[in-house]
Symmetry: C2
Subunit: 345 residues, 2 copies
Amino acid sequence: MKARIKTQITGFVAGIALSGIAVAFEPLPAQPPVPVDNPMNAEKIELGRMLYFDPRLSVDGTVSCNSCHNVMTNGTDNRPVSVGVNGQKGGRNAPTVFNAAFLSAQFWDGRAATLEDQAKGPILNPIEMGMPSEKVVIDRLKKIPEYVDRFETVFGEGGLTYDNIAKAIAAYERTLVTPNSPFDRYLRGDENAISESAKRGMKLMEKLGCTACHNGPNLAGPDLPTGQGFFQKFPIYTDNEYVKKYDLLADKGRYEVTKKEEDKHMWRVPTLRNVALTAPYFHNGSVQTLDEAVRVMAKTQLNRDLSRKEVRDLVAFLESLTGEIPPQVMPKLPQTEGFSVVGDQ
Amino acid sequence: MKARIKTQITGFVAGIALSGIAVAFEPLPAQPPVPVDNPMNAEKIELGRMLYFDPRLSVDGTVSCNSCHNVMTNGTDNRPVSVGVNGQKGGRNAPTVFNAAFLSAQFWDGRAATLEDQAKGPILNPIEMGMPSEKVVIDRLKKIPEYVDRFETVFGEGGLTYDNIAKAIAAYERTLVTPNSPFDRYLRGDENAISESAKRGMKLMEKLGCTACHNGPNLAGPDLPTGQGFFQKFPIYTDNEYVKKYDLLADKGRYEVTKKEEDKHMWRVPTLRNVALTAPYFHNGSVQTLDEAVRVMAKTQLNRDLSRKEVRDLVAFLESLTGEIPPQVMPKLPQTEGFSVVGDQ
């Protein structure tokens, strides 16, 4: 599998431990791991940006990566489930693209090891972008001269391949990190960066046991080898109103991929970064608000009923995880003269 | 009706006449007319840009103005007809937003006098953005604090109204002009800005009679008072293969709005600027390529069968009308914390 360049965070962790903050928490590194076989450079990132925003990667020219993972709205579409070509609805909530580069496996069920592997999925998924085959994707992009040129510049002769489409998109996605949240500034020593309520929430996270899973720089679990997703069962406690109300058992999670009994209702632990901005919540997007999501998690994972104050503090903590979205440049998509590659759809 | 500040182009026209180029042609002014009751300023343009890109203006949060009038792809979606909420297809090809500010009436049938009037339509159209009422639009935006603030800053207290949504969007759209096409540079004196073929095409435009309608700075007819669209019949000659093949009589055009007999198959003359980049062609998007569109126009409007060379020259001329798209800044859309305004859709 692909090697990862690990960011050294030991110094921060030591500092955190000294100031009495649990080692479960670490600031978000400025750069995500980069696989050795897909180094980043400006041309590749720009090509990836174009592809990410290009609806011509969908069969009828209506859906781009950005349609569901919208970088203008926190890397998601803020819908329960996304809408693909022909108005088709998906089965799961679109995870945010921001900081996805820090995850050791992609998709809710971790079925893709890398961003590169992930990017190949939706383009060919019949209810997402609906392209019939890799060949049709390549044939279409070959009709757009600037793309052919750009792929050759970035990847060499014959560079326009399905693998390289995914590599370029992944390179762009590795720029989508949101550092310097109030909580990161707090971890780096600014005591006033977060509210007292958020500080109580932070301590509650550990006391209740949330940090058993939501730890590490992305609050999505430990830094595992690429492809080895950090999975947990959800819901654990099923005999409560929430499981029924929000239909949390209908989707069997990772089991749908592996068909192994032990993977039933196992999910990749999602990041908590920017969670205040990525409503609605959970794999099926069934929970509308962050405070309700906190109550659901406490009940289904810890069998705890939280007080109003506890919920408020936890939400204040989660709100402190909203980072700085890097300024986004709008691509100018390559043109075709006198015809459209989706004009016959 | 709204007054317009007319751009003075007399000097250019005189210059053109002197150099032997027909007065049918004028360079595109750098600025479009601005209505006196909606002056432009930076805050209003920025608010309009946000609204233009915000899919939360559609009922299910999937369609923005930019979905169909995509400024990354020449102000259109390059599809025969656009796709709105729930996968619904519209009846007509989405006109480009670029240089729409120069048109004296909007929509293919001219049913809106101004960009402001136009912007109000698609949001409430059930097959486009599908919002059930102006009130629902306003109620939704009121849940987004930054929008409330921005409307107050731009329009004063209580500024968040449906009319002002349209005003902000129109102000942004008036920045979407594409000056300095090769043909504009030619008109301004650069003899080498366009090819010899394009020059022959330019002369053919006049000789054949295309410029009877496609004249003026936008090649969409004379500069008429706001709301008084420049309408022409299409197709005029109906006894030919094209009318049947491309189903050009199915849609009765302006008649669908006025129900007047004389408006049957009357259409607002579309701009030719950037036409090489806005395939497919005509009100129903039925013609895939620019050369075929040229043949169709010659036959249906002038009863002429063009030679291959004539088509080639006309296409070369039309390609010289591709202007410079101004660099686009990606908006960061206002956020809601802990919930989504489209999360229950």
